[in-house]
Symmetry: D2
Subunit: 416 residues, 4 copies
């Protein structure tokens, strides 16, 4: 008798194929679920494989637009970044995947969901916290945290043996000496040879960007238009042809293409995982790197100083941490989203951008609607609306507190 | 009869030469003060000019080492950055200049200090807040905020006429259509044609870095060693020769050279001045860009996650704001400095760096003394000290709160 | 010929009466404006006096409901407090007064507004920043910052002499040796004898609360119901009669009454003014003290931990600072308001309260709609939904980072 | 054969006595450890009982002074408070207890430590995180999280039966319908009948303070002197006698006595536990409530505004959270401690205090050494060092940004 249905996040690879067969062996009926978040993958073949191994069904869900609209846009709006450098490419995809998987599980009446994440990483946390928030009663089967599973498959050879035994087709491709996670926004590389943080990643590892050294010798210019902090139009040149894109997915893909051919968006860091372990990750985030940097620039032109400061210190920092830690479906994320929206009403304008051999730079910006930047007021050559003598008063009042402090230091004989 | 002695921050340029003559005309005895913070300037000639115009004395103070040790090192230690992008190059130099000027003023028995800053910028605030903290009783003469001065000299022509009348030598060099501020760490460009934020700066404007397009086609690798967050050794190759520098000034200059020849360190932004005006600035900060980025990377390897998070949100943000706003000599800056020091005890190690056509990247890092990164623990292939099943408990407990929230949302019929 | 119309914030007291006469003397036509924010004042008499002195008109605006709904409710919703103690009673009234004054000024075609605030306090800043935001072109006449005024009236005697000369009626009431500001929410006492921070305020100073020592010997209990963080119903007993109030103004007044008769809501502090001066203030804030404390308590029951933490650290702190500094009409305040609203959706429930001889305490709380508090889950006697063994995993994972740190310390021979 | 030695935190009560017997039954040799942190307890009797049940040894450690100096003083220095209200009385004692227990375990060569904390509370986390940081290799035995234990002892009756069986003496005292934790600084009450957050605690529950209604009808005044933020002297009157205490423990006890007899220091809240559960707790913290409030007041007089603001937002909030969550032995706590020290250099002075029927209030404060408060500068009646006209400039410059914003709103037809 079946122990019930399980919805398994299935990739078509060796690990999740073995998990699929193992779950069936344990007495579960398994529904496979493949999320299309823009990664390079033969979904048709994965589905065939799943069914061949014994899945009752295999759902393939195209989540690309949802991923961009719901996750990438807000990340750009708040300039999300974890630990000064990481643009959260993996974290951003998890919420849409988890929600789609829960939907399939609910539709199929599954009692549990399952995944192939390891027991030391961030992704298990991200998926499961999302599962539990979305359906508090759901059971989670995490084979890589279950001794009956991981003791049985301590190495790749054991997986291959089991695959052979169960008639699971294995591609002859040699496994890469690192693990990867890819989506429309980014590709990550970690583990394996990368675990030594002093080893420079091999040149052929990077997948979504070309080597800056091999990129074009000519800078490529393009413009991005933002409406309320969201990229709504991009103009660029392909060959000799001017192109204008406005559709979200097309725009995102075009940004990816430009960044890719100019080698923009690679980082290599040691980061702090949610569970408290430091790990080394290499990430490439081509289009998002450009879109985010252009957005940061436009905020200089259009966003009030104090709103920006509060947003930077509070929203950017915490939204990034919340996303990284897998807490997208949480009261605190909803709370932060309200702040993101409240901050972006005036972030309207156009940024002129340049990519060149690994660098992204801004070469100009303007806004038709926003007026906080005022060329005349800003000008050093013009007196403008306020009298320069007022600044004396401003400084004088600011100095009241400092003079007291200076006097105390002087009296105490301390050096300033 | 003399109104008393004034110590004037003197650059040898047209503005401060006119101010010098004007102060004398007003009845002051003027002591000139030139700060050498590494800018390109003929100090000897400036001194001669000052004396020729009528200064009673002209002091030239070499503040380069003090600037690096006291200002640049802590900025690197806390990854100082204003509004996500600006490395504070101008702000960092102001405290050492102001203190040296006050020292001269005190030595000479001056009743006032004077400067040539405009009435709309940040520098007037930075200098004067420093003056007032360092000597609360000092008087400040700011001609560009004094109507009797600025109404008399509304344009460059009036300054030139006055210079001619007073016999002030004027270099025939055509004035650049922007204003600059230079020191060992950076050069800024603003005002003039740059006031239109959509105008791309002309190629010949940049002074401290070569155009990335003209930079070498071969990446240049080098290593930086940090001790308690401070750069203490740099190894690089010049021609075919290995070089090792450990002296602070030499190290800083070597970092500048590498960045310069690889076109690294340019930015172009619209920022928010302390007085509430938005302004456009272009900055190049060659060596400091590399040193700071390498430091950020090393913190990934060596700094505890929670210390880093607190430091990022609190110290980095506020130290940068305090510096930008000219509040170096303040109780809050002293308070923040204690935190910087407390955060850096473990930031020891070596970062392998690469510069190439405008980009700085890290290609590896290591530490002989720090052990928070643990290759084995981090490894996805090893179970390590903790049992993967513990992570299930970790997630389960994190989920308690989220399940409650998920249930409430579901009951309320709200979408997650 | 008239210099134009000025709208003067008029209180009927000596200072603003003299200012009124002085403005007329200076050649202005003066429109007086009295804001009724619940202070004890004979507005009819003030109006007569204004017209007698020569005002062209005198407007009296009842702003009490607006003050409560627009200012006091959000302050309660975010538990606003400045420097740990001060409930911002004066600050909260300023925005509604300034806006009403500007409306009168606009209606009457005034070229300027004027007020009687001193040149060292917070109120001048609060009023004027509001004026400038509400009508950027407005001119402000601040006599107490104008040497032609303050040099002419260096002491109270000069004001009295001028009043006599101009036929301004002066009440024979002896001036109190401190200054006061009163509204529906609070009364402040500062200056005069209170300037010595070690002098205990005289017993007869306090106006809105009775001396705790003289308050009833029996505790008084009452309940407050909140909807989305706003007090929407209060039940209490008057004499023997149960009372239920739901109207905002009535509820606020009833809270004031209860607090008053039980001596609740007095504080005596030294605070930091916006201009950088420390000053001593005594404040009594009867009803607001109770309503805010009850709200804090209800958030314990109903608000998610992380939302509360973010709100406390970010919104409460900054909203309070923004209000204190007079920046209600600013982009940052609008930004923060969005966060306040986003935080309060679940703050629904009832708090049972007690006042007794100066103390406010909570004696119970409940919510019909909110379910984050779960008696069973919370119970130490029940296992509940999660397995206690999960907590071991939670602790184990939290300890990963700490074990590394502990090992490093031990190796280094440092004491923990 | 013995499974090895275990060091058990032993209180002499039913739970830990049963755990002691059970551990022995499991084959461990047990060393008992009693921490004296000032709770009311017959340690001699507890020791006898432990030895009688079969403990190999029983250590009683007097940690009272350490608790005050190391934990209570820094908590006062940073005004520590969790979720606006809770003074962390329990949390503060945990680090010193855990460290003393680990010392005993190390001395005795124990392989494990054990405690009687429940599986849902904060204390298990606090103790174990401390154990793991102090000795990363230690094993923890938490019976209340072990099904073999908690399934065997599902109720009090099972414990009593086992006690009878093992000859464990049980006091005839009827168990209270709540659980308590007491130390020198506070006593907590939770669980049992208190789990309904709407039930008012019974009058006879409170132990460390008398009922405000029964407290003296006369206010009691006393003074506290602080040196660098630490209470160093207290003057009060006992009977008719003036008393002066300077010893830390004596001072703390004297503060407790005053607060106790005046009914000061009770709170009743719903808080958020670290593991994500909301729970109701009643706490009484007599002396610490007064000492902390007096310290807050003195900071008004002596601490720079900006240091205070940074400290409030950053240090107070995070130190409290870190302590509450049991992370005292952590890099982030060490980092925060450096900030606390850096903030307190100027917090020197004397606060005159009053307790009366449940309220603590300040009636005056002064400092012989600190000069940031300046009666003359603060005075509204004196012009002082700065010219009032400077404030106009201050306001004018602050308004630049707001005028732009106001103009934009007006143009957009939006209401301010």
């Amino acid at each position: 008798m079946s122990k019930g249905k399980v919805c398994l996040a299935y990739s078509g690879g060796l690990d999740t194929s073995v998990i699929l067969a193992w779950l069936i062996e344990q007495g579960y009926e398994v529904i496979c679920f493949c999320a299309d978040v823009g990664q390079e993958e033969d979904f048709k073949q994965a589905k065939e494989k799943a069914l061949k191994i014994g899945a009752k069904a295999c759902y393939i869900e195209d989540l690309r637009e949802e991923f961009i609209l719901e996750q990438c846009w807000p990340a750009i709006q708040c300039n999300a970044v974890y630990e000064s450098v990481y643009l959260l490419g993996t974290s951003l995809a998890r919420p849409v995947i988890a929600r789609a998987q829960i939907k399939v599980a609910q539709k199929e009446g599954c009692i549990a969901v399952s995944h192939g994440c390891t027991g030391k990483g961030n992704d298990q946390v991200r998926f499961e916290l999302a599962f539990y928030a979305l359906q508090p009663s759901i059971k989670v089967i995490a084979p890589w945290r279950d001794p009956t599973f991981y003791d049985r498959f301590p190495g790749r050879k054991n997986l291959l043996d089991y695959a052979a035994e169960k008639g699971i087709p294995v591609t002859s491709t040699k496994s890469k000496p690192w693990s990867m996670d890819e989506n429309l926004a980014h590709c990550s590389y970690e583990a394996g040879i990368l675990e030594d943080p002093d080893i420079t990643p091999p040149k052929d590892m990077w997948k979504l960007t070309i080597d800056p050294v091999k990129a074009s010798d000519t800078p490529e210019d393009f413009t991005i238009e933002f409406t309320k902090g969201i990229p709504t139009q991009m103009e660029y040149t392909e060959g000799e042809k001017k192109k204008v894109v406005t559709d979200a997915v097309e725009l995102f893909l075009a940004a990816n293409d430009i960044a890719k051919r100019n080698g923009v968006g690679r980082i290599d860091i040691v980061e702090n995982r949610f569970i408290g372990i430091k790990s080394r990750g290499c990430y490439e985030t081509p289009g998002l790197t450009c879109l985010r940097a252009a957005h940061v620039d436009l905020e200089g032109l259009t966003l009030d100083r104090e709103v920006r400061a509060l947003r930077d210190q509070f929203v950017t920092f915490n939204y990034s941490k919340v996303l990284y830690n897998g807490l997208y479906f949480s009261p605190e994320r909803e709370f932060l989203t309200a702040s993101i929206i409240a901050s972006q009403g005036h972030v309207n304008g156009t940024v002129r951008c340049r990519c060149y051999k690994g660098t992204f730079s801004v070469i100009g910006r303007s806004s038709k609607t926003e007026k906080l930047y005022d060329m005349e007021e800003s000008s050093m050559d013009q007196i403008g609306e306020f009298s320069p003598s007022e600044t004396g008063g401003f400084i004088g009042v600011q100095a009241i507190r400092l003079k007291k402090y200076g006097s105390m230091k002087t009296e105490a004989g301390e050096r300033l």
